[in-house]
Symmetry: C2
Subunit: 488 residues, 2 copies
Amino acid sequence: MVPVADKKESFVTEITPRSEDFSRWYLDVVRRAELADYSPVKGCMVIRPYGYAIWEHIQRLLDARFKATGHVNAYFPLFLPEGLLMKEKEHVEGFAPQVAWVTRGGDEDFADGQRLIIRPTSEVMIGTMYAKWIKSWRDLPVLINQWANVVRWEKVTRPFLRTTEFLWQEGHTAHETAEEGEAETLKILGLYKEFAETELAMPVIDGLKSDSEKFAGASRTYSIEALMGDGRALQAGTSHNLGQNFAKAFEIQFQGRDKTLQHAWTTSWGVSTRLIGGVIMTHGDDSGLVLPPHIAPYQVVIVPIPRGDWKQTVLPAAEAIASELGAKGVRVKLDASEENSPGWKFAEWELRGVPLRLEIGPKDIEKAQVFSARRDTREKAAIPLADLAARVPALLEEIQANLLARARVFREEHTTEVATWDEFKNAMEGRPGFVIAAWCGSADCEAQIKAETQATLRNIPLGSPRVDGQCVKCNGASHVKAWFAKAY
Amino acid sequence: MVPVADKKESFVTEITPRSEDFSRWYLDVVRRAELADYSPVKGCMVIRPYGYAIWEHIQRLLDARFKATGHVNAYFPLFLPEGLLMKEKEHVEGFAPQVAWVTRGGDEDFADGQRLIIRPTSEVMIGTMYAKWIKSWRDLPVLINQWANVVRWEKVTRPFLRTTEFLWQEGHTAHETAEEGEAETLKILGLYKEFAETELAMPVIDGLKSDSEKFAGASRTYSIEALMGDGRALQAGTSHNLGQNFAKAFEIQFQGRDKTLQHAWTTSWGVSTRLIGGVIMTHGDDSGLVLPPHIAPYQVVIVPIPRGDWKQTVLPAAEAIASELGAKGVRVKLDASEENSPGWKFAEWELRGVPLRLEIGPKDIEKAQVFSARRDTREKAAIPLADLAARVPALLEEIQANLLARARVFREEHTTEVATWDEFKNAMEGRPGFVIAAWCGSADCEAQIKAETQATLRNIPLGSPRVDGQCVKCNGASHVKAWFAKAY
């Protein structure tokens, strides 16, 4: 690890440069910014307060969107009886290899067949309850979301991106018709995309997964795919149209308007704490984290410059600014601690990704101004005190918009359309990113592409036009262009 | 079960009368009001959307109080390595008999000693992390809370009151001195009491638990105790001063101001979904749930009376009222469904405990008024449309205050101070409630009292004066009066 220093201040921040080793850089940022820590349980992380505050903003902003679209929250048990998981054939094949088993409770060992599984996802539990609750078309749609922890036994883990236990939301809905199920699946996909772009400043490609990448038991899986700073893709959210598969396995039936007994059409969809990993890898730089203002625990840090009688002059002014901005709804941290120098604080809060820093010293007081430094562009400017309450919220929105615009430019610069297999291989080797290529639709070609380049088919973007051409791999007839990338 | 009918309307609500069988009444209310349902996993409930919405309000109101007192949220793993639980001797004795064991993950069976426990509470995990994070007195206090699910293997369960898995918050703090640890423990106890009384309209007695009822591993446990409608007490929240017990077991040490290495002083505290059970049993009546407005999913239900051309006249007026009240921050449900009659709706929303009903029909439109019905007193009154936006929020606060006052009166009427053992036994048989009696402080007397009357020592209220007297059980010297009750 090469210690990185802010040259002018020479404070070591102990972060591996992004360009040197992206993966080490990521782990350094997670640890040094106190987002998460390793726990005594293999593969399970502790989400520390600074990281959890980001998750709370994500929850708040997403939850408001779910409620605005008619969804309600509920809570279903952590445990699934093992027999339940077995009911949907593809689902069990997908999840059985990676579940954790509870075989003893209190002083009782469970008999075989009576063991409990810790939910890797809750379709089977929720399907069982829906079968009880839904009787008539009048009971539909059922639009329920759950905020919960889930467990998937993973061999290789990385904080936020892949952990044995993680936090997520899982929506589960039931509908009267196939059309309504598909409409819900796409409505949520659109909600996820709008959320990721508006709040996380993370541009995403929304599209349809290939059959081999779809959710175990789904008819169709859609995803949003983001591009990380190292040119690898991150699946940031999925929305599944489950057709009648789970309704048939769990007997979710209702009396229709025509009095016949029908199976419901269900969907499920989720995003997780993985989004925090996405934010880190979309915006971060060699100085550490760069947080979009909408989800930053602190949007502004105020650093008073301790010169002369600063406690009588500068500090009260800093406190007044903090309370003025706080009253405007800005999340402010006033760092008036005396243990550390201003330079140390600058480096520390940059590392923690605070979008905007305000410095105020004796000279600023004389001039009735503060000095501002943006985290995204490092641009510095004096702001008159009188303008602060109006200027800071506007500046935060500028930063939010700039982060999204910058990430879009990065994605465009790292997206290549190729026509031939040689071009495909070159694109995957030469510079990573999204590669767009014609695909015949066969799982064989998809598997060969992955085997030879490690690239997986991320999705086929919504609204892709039909384009007749030749599959990049087999030269067979192709009607769509798919987006490929090496992925997390 | 005796079906209960609203005589005038004769709509069967299928709720056992409270006076006939309180326990059946409770289960009927939980089920019929769709607060919770049984799941396919023994002892685990599903919290349905209507019940979960109450929990969301509890979370929101409590979380704001935690944050206002300097606490932050974080998330720690669901699993505890079995070795960790063993580190604090009293703690393991208290919890080992009721934990669930994970013995297999993915395709791997865990060796003995490598098994995982599902957290019944997180002192041992959080203590392990605090030992890593805390180095100096400057790192103190650490004030962290977690919203999480926990699992305790219970033989007899009841929705909300005692379930194998439940949702709660658990605060875990570390301090520099014994005094600060005790101050935090009491601050949270006070916060819980104020919350329960202000938001749940549930009066509580805050006091110290006896040694035999304290948390496994704590130096001192304080609790808030509420009185339910059947005269049994409910422990509604606990705050534990853990002294240095966990700090010593987990080596939570810091360099003090005097440069010596010292053990931290820690606390832990929690309330759970059990509070919902407390709300049901404090306020409910034979018609079902009665919800305090502060935590009611819907504070007001508007029922339009479908006569004549109501869709052109009454319905738009009802919609205008709903949106006017909504804009004032009132949570409103407009029940304009045509499947059910107004009478059916009255009974249904009463059963679901909505604090205030507004009825509006063609005649009300003529008179520019609505008709209101309070859930708590069943008082009915006409409210001029022009007054509605001011009157409804005020009325909701009156209802909130009345529920608290009524519950206080009930508690006073069901609290008896006794001087002799015969009086004690009579009080416990004749009419249930709190019984105040002098107690010598011995665990033996406490155990005998429980064996003979089923009453347990709930707590010794804070601020109890020293009163010299004779123990109600053994006639030995006593200096305090304790509060006893049969309890959930």
